[in-house]
């Protein structure tokens, strides 16, 4: 590994921070400069993520998997803070990159003008997500979570309007409380084990004194509650649907990755700290995850069937996919986990695309959510604003056909119907669960089938109502070129995932196998190999 590649790991965190900080100096009216800058930053992040994926999958001396460790300030592992790039974290960073660039292109058509400092908040959100994915330290994880959440509070309110402020108020209150639980969990674990480094924690768990083990489990459970709130697990996820459906479309698309960050952390900590090598703590809490996951799926399914609004249906689809992942982490085993990771990528892209499509379809029907109002009048004043703000610029022809096609693709992806990636992921997951032949496996298979049916019913019904049997009074459908490119990018990524299904699925399966053997990760962090 050459020198500059060594520093590549910190790139997806530092680059958005520097660009966002620099953008504060540029006047709010110079939108083109800001748009170009943030597009360039997102493209660079995506390239870095792909390089990191390549490195983590082939970087070992024998050409196999490796966890690249970056020591901040070159302090050795249990004392200093490390960033770790392995197969799972780089996959998630790349997913964030794809999602981010598509949502950003979408927003350039219209939404970035709906309020001040959109690009800065957007980049800081990306920075927080990437940091949370790459860090190998529990407290550092808290800091990145807070950066991510603070930026998301801003993005939820972007565009203003009463609906957003109301939803944002509840969202912020819930997440502030969750952050306090996070702190309680982290400090309990620190008080009993004396470490915050995740790899070091994993090595210390088997040797915990018997009388302390219960307290460590309580700490881990409190921590897990914080992440379950973020991944919108039932009964902690009632905030999700109102918030995501009220947020502006590009913000909602980015929020789709936020709930997956909660799932990612649960998966990471389970695989490291409560792995098979954890002695008496091995497999702690898996039954709870399974139960929470199944209940979340059920709640998401019922919500999808009950809702009459496409944005909300998309929000419930996010919940269903979080629930499926939690259930598989809890009760699935390694074989189905690989397929679940493939499903994670596909469903996140599809849900994000559905948010973008739904916003265009429901535009003009939502008086509370118009883009023309600012939170504070003096914050943002522009003499051209009202005519310019709602003008999407270049408009593509055949908007109805494009949107109809997009709705169909999203439905196929989310419901898991052939020929797209949603189908491949669900079938692979069901196959692995059926061959495991456990009660938990069959329950997950059943819920997956029910959720597919519900998604077909709900999305086709709402899609037909929104595209083909539109209200005569509703405004004509207009799709800006940027909006089209953003949606096409997300759906194109889904289609690529389907065409190269075997490669991506093999990568996901390898990742699950890599997670099942945490010793390589722990060794890389603690001994400094592969730094």
């Amino acid at each position: 590994m050459t020198d500059w590649l060594e520093h590549l790991i910190i790139g997806p965190i530092v680059l958005p921070l520097v660009v966002a900080a620099g953008m504060l100096l540029i006047d709010e009216r110079r939108r083109i400069v800001k748009g170009v800058l943030s597009l360039a930053a997102m493209a660079a992040i995506l390239v870095m993520a792909l390089l990191l994926i390549h490195e983590s999958a082939t970087g070992a001396v024998d050409g196999g998997d490796v966890a690249r460790v970056y020591r901040l300030g070159d302090w050795a592992a249990p004392y200093g803070i490390v960033l770790v790039a392995d197969r799972l974290s780089t996959l998630m960073v790349a997913l964030t990159g794809v999602l981010g660039i598509c949502a950003l292109v979408f927003s350039l058509a219209r939404w970035d003008r709906a309020g001040p400092r959109f690009h800065i908040l957007f980049l800081l959100l990306v920075m927080g997500v990437n940091g949370a994915l790459l860090t190998g330290d529990l407290f550092n994880l808290f800091v990145f979570f807070e950066i991510m959440l603070a930026a998301s509070y801003g993005l939820v309110l972007h565009g203003s309007g009463e609906t957003r402020i109301r939803a944002g108020l509840a969202y912020i209150a819930v997440n502030l409380t969750a952050s306090l639980l996070f702190l309680i969990g982290v400090s309990l674990i620190y008080g009993l084990t004396g470490t915050l480094n995740m790899a070091d924690l994993a090595t210390r768990i088997p040797d915990i004194a018997a009388q302390d083990r219960g307290m460590v489990h309580i700490g881990a459970a409190v921590l897990a509650v914080a992440f379950l709130i973020k991944s919108a697990s039932w009964p902690l996820g009632f905030w999700l649907a109102p918030t995501y459906s009220a947020a502006s479309a590009p913000a909602a698309a980015m929020l789709a990755i936020l709930s997956k960050v909660g799932v990612y952390v649960i998966l990471r900590l389970n695989a490291l700290v409560f792995s098979a090598e954890a002695g008496a703590s091995a497999g702690f809490g898996l039954d709870w995850l399974l139960a929470a996951g199944l209940a979340t799926m059920l709640f998401g399914v019922l919500g999808m069937l009950a809702t009459r609004d496409l944005m909300r249906a998309a929000a419930f689809a996010v919940m269903v996919s979080s629930g499926a992942l939690l259930a598989v982490i809890g009760g699935g085993g390694t074989a189905s986990l690989g397929a679940a990771l493939y499903y994670l990528v596909g469903s996140t892209l599809a849900c994000a695309a559905l948010f973008l499509v739904a916003e265009i379809l429901e535009r003009g029907r939502d008086p509370g959510g118009d883009a023309g109002k600012a939170v504070f009048e003096d914050e943002y004043r522009d003499p051209f604003e009202d005519t310019e703000r709602n003008d999407p610029g270049l408009v593509i022809p055949a908007a109805v056909a494009a949107l109809g096609g997009a709705v169909i693709l999203c439905t196929l992806m989310i419901a898991g119907l052939p020929p797209l990636a949603g189908f491949i992921g669900k079938v692979a997951m069901m196959g692995a669960l059926m061959s495991a032949d456990s009660v938990a496996g069959w329950m997950i298979v059943g819920m997956l089938a029910v959720s597919s049916l519900a998604a077909v019913i709900s999305l086709t019904r709402l899609g037909v109502a929104a595209v083909w049997t539109r209200d005569e009074a509703a405004p004509n459908l207009v799709v800006g070129a940027g909006e089209f490119v953003g949606i096409a990018g997300l759906l194109g990524a889904c289609i690529l995932m389907s065409i190269f299904g075997e490669t991506v699925l093999a990568y996901a399966d390898h990742t699950a196998a890599w997670l099942a053997e945490p010793s390589a990760y722990i060794g890389a962090v603690l001994t400094g190999e592969g730094r």
Binding site: L149, I165, R166, I172, L176, T177, I184
Partner: protein, 114 residues
């Protein structure tokens, strides 16, 4: 003695915090979050074990770690204070915006129907 005082402080602060958090007015929610974060900050601090008169930084020649207070929770608590302070301020702004947009300081944005 110090343990009982500290435990009582954490308990009372978090109990009041939770109660206020569940109240219907936004101002009460903010104060509840503040109290809860105080409780959590003291809790983090207590996780470094309670020691009286133990210096946090070692002097050369006296490197026995057992003599010193654990500096990590102190660093953690500083970070936690800064972050919760900043986010409470941010929340306050949103509460003010909600008050302006909805004309009510109820957490639902409207007065409950009698």
């Amino acid at each position: 003695m110090i343990e009982i005082v500290l435990a009582l402080a954490i308990g009372v602060l978090s109990a009041s915090g939770v109660w206020l958090l569940l109240r219907p007015r936004t101002f009460q929610v903010i104060i509840g979050l503040c109290l809860l974060s105080y409780a959590v900050n003291i809790f983090i601090f207590a996780m470094g074990r309670l020691r009286v008169g133990a210096p946090p930084v070692t002097v050369s020649g006296l490197e026995t770690p057992a003599l010193y207070a654990d500096p990590t929770p102190q660093a953690l608590v500083l970070t936690a204070i800064v972050i919760s302070f900043a986010l409470t301020a941010l929340f306050l702004v949103v509460v003010l915006a909600a008050r302006g947009a909805t004309g009510s300081d109820h957490v639902d944005g409207e007065e409950p129907r009698a």
